[in-house]
Amino acid sequence: MSVKMNLNCPIPQLDFDRITLGHGSGGVLTHKLLDSGVFDLLSNEILDKKHDGAFLNLEGEVAMSTDSFVVNPVFFPGGDIGELAINGTVNDLAMCGAIPKYLSLAFIIEEGLLMQDFWNILVSIKAAAERAGVKVVTGDTKVVERGKGDQIFINTTGIGTIHPKAKISDTHIKTGDKIIVSNSIANHGIAIMSVREGLEFETEILSDTCALNEPVLQLIENFADGIHVMRDPTRGGLGTVLAEIAKDQKIGIDIAQTTIPVEEQVNGACELLGLDPLYVANEGVFITIVDGSIANEVCEQLKVFDTCAKASIIGEIVDDHKGQVIIQSAIGGRRVVNMLPGEQLPRIC
């Protein structure tokens, strides 16, 4: 969900319209880049101290998460790498039942990246951080020679305080719990793939990248220990996350294909590319496993949020086929959902 900001890049270009190795040298160019770019744009009282690290005051139990972001193309339908880097770590914290507070932000930039692109990524980072209510408090910038990176890589590490009512743990899962997916799956992976493959559809498929802390924290506030597990099925998709849970917790999971929300054009693209939406990446979807008695209510509350409009109960925990996920196909057949053995590779025919 990109925010259109047509801000011109104010970073003094010093005759550079592209990032050069000098911008990562730690010298004058680095300072110019940071002062007029990162620091000004992301300014807050902690970052403004420009110390080697951030001084933070946190109370209670803390969650921490880190993630690195590499995506080609850097700008894609529905978002860009900057927004992804904020939302990704915010969501990982939210899945722990934490209120995301502070992020570190580190860039590895390939020599030659357009200054205007870098600026656009920063603007997008600022907007995403504001939407998620997090502050960027420390960071780093390195530049690598052309050919040794892919335009820009971003790492974010986040810290959040655990919501006092949160009782999130895989070990709380029990037979009869219901599994809810928060929105249509596979949009992000297909949005990226269709740009890479030059595919066009009647309506553009947009990445689902968004921060999920608001709906997640509301669920915890309202249902407390009724919410047993939350996970965001990013790489590997929904199928992989469920297979992981079933295997690690030695529980049986039943899901029904017809209840899993997939947008029609996403489904069409999956057919065309020979991919299974169950294994396609998401960046704005989470699954939650909740007490069976509250499942309908959880689902209804989620649907109030735009980012969770297609929330759906897709299955339940069963006292059978322990360690396995079984999907009931649309026609009533049953099969196992396994973890992918690697990348999904496009098929010949």
Partner: protein, 368 residues
């Protein structure tokens, strides 16, 4: 989704299943030839909805699985040549060669690109005049027209740095080979719908006549497959053996003339080695002699020894339908999609991988 969802309609599926249960009075062994059909049968959980008396056997119709080891080694050899860009469909990359896979060669620095269409490879050749671009042209009759077209485009564009490493195999000779095997158990066939779309149905009449088996050209969606199986079973129950066309919304008896024309412009029929099965006479395509500058096997000197297949792998028996994937002692143990001993464990259309991914708990041991 138009023209797909209609063929996944649960009510229709139910009707076909009911009818199938009604008409089946004896045990029948039927082979679906195409890997795409295997994938769909397993993915949709159709196998355990069928009457117990119907045994589906998964045929040799996965091009990835039957591409000879030697040819994969050749592709890897070419990819590792400094000046070569090797282009391939995605699922060939993980197939184990004798020493490594294309995916490993890529990780070691070979310039290997995954494409959806061979025409993209011609474009890459045109944009990289100083490099040699080789397309690993794998497939059945279905992919042959596009691969042939890429050569035609290269000729038209005067592109001399493009060639294909062709590994094309043909369905009818494979059916004949299965039927001629003394151990054959197959009593009826679902012919591969997409292959028939290109080639038509003509080749199947002599087979039906000689071997007295029903052959039904069949599509890939649940309703297609069940209708195809029903058509075969109805024939078997009545003691008939005919060529029928379930996939008539796509398949014409004569096939696609322009596609066939372009195939014959570039390729000629030749004997072919099938991985796990051996040589089948007149079962593949090779590039016509007058176009040998577009034949990578001819253009480059590839000196590699012919490697031996892994002895533990029973791919041959699986591809001929003599054994089910899970009857292999290595299945899910020594052989997994991450570490495949044989090709059927690699492609999602390979029978072993289809069983591994979608193994049905009701008749399979859980795979760990």
């Amino acid at each position: 989704m138009k023209f797909i969802s209609e063929y996944r309609e649960p009510e229709l599926v139910k009707k076909y299943l009911e009818r199938l249960h009604e008409v089946t009075t004896q045990e029948w062994t039927i082979m679906e030839v195409c890997g795409g059909q295997t994938h769909s049968l397993v993915k949709n959980g159709i196998l355990n909805l069928l009457p117990d008396k119907i045994r589906m056997v998964h045929g040799p119709g996965c091009p990835v699985c039957v591409t000879p080891l030697n040819l994969i080694d050749k592709a890897i050899y070419l990819a590792e040549e400094k000046n070569v860009i090797l282009c391939s469909f995605g699922d060939m990359l993980r197939v184990p060669g004798s020493k490594k896979s294309l995916l490993e060669a890529k990780a070691n620095g070979a310039d290997i690109r995954i494409l959806y269409s061979p025409l993209e490879a011609v474009e890459i050749a045109s944009n990289n005049p100083d490099r040699e671009v080789v397309f690993f042209a794998v497939g059945f009759e279905t992919t042959a027209p596009a691969n042939a077209l890429s050569v035609v485009h290269a000729i038209r564009g005067g592109i001399k740095n493009y060639s294909i490493l062709a590994s094309h195999v043909l369905v009818p000779p494979a059916i004949k080979a299965v039927l001629s095997d003394p151990e054959n158990l197959i009593q009826g066939f679902l012919a591969a719908g997409h292959v028939c779309t290109i080639m038509g149905m003509e080749d199947y009449y002599p087979i039906v006549k000689e071997h007295n088996v029903p052959i039904v050209a069949t599509g890939f969606e649940p309703v297609d497959l069940l209708q195809g199986i029903l058509m075969v079973v109805e024939q078997l129950e009545k003691g008939k053996a005919e060529v029928e066309n379930q996939y008539s919304r796509v398949v014409d008896r004569d096939g696609n003339k322009s596609a066939k024309d372009i195939i014959s412009k570039v390729f000629k029929v030749s004997d072919r080695d099938w991985r796990g099965i051996g040589e089948i006479p007149e079962s593949g395509y090779e590039i016509r002699q007058e176009l040998d500058m577009y034949d990578a096997d001819h253009k480059f000197e590839i000196n590699i020894a012919k490697a031996q297949e892994c002895q533990d792998c029973i791919a041959g028996d699986v591809l001929k339908g003599l054994k089910k994937p899970h009857e292999c002692p290595q299945f899910g143990k020594g052989c997994t999609p991450l570490n495949p001993l044989g090709a059927p464990m690699v492609s999602s259309e390979g029978a072993c991988a289809a069983y591994y991914h979608f193994a049905n708990v009701e008749f399979e041991e859980p795979v760990s």
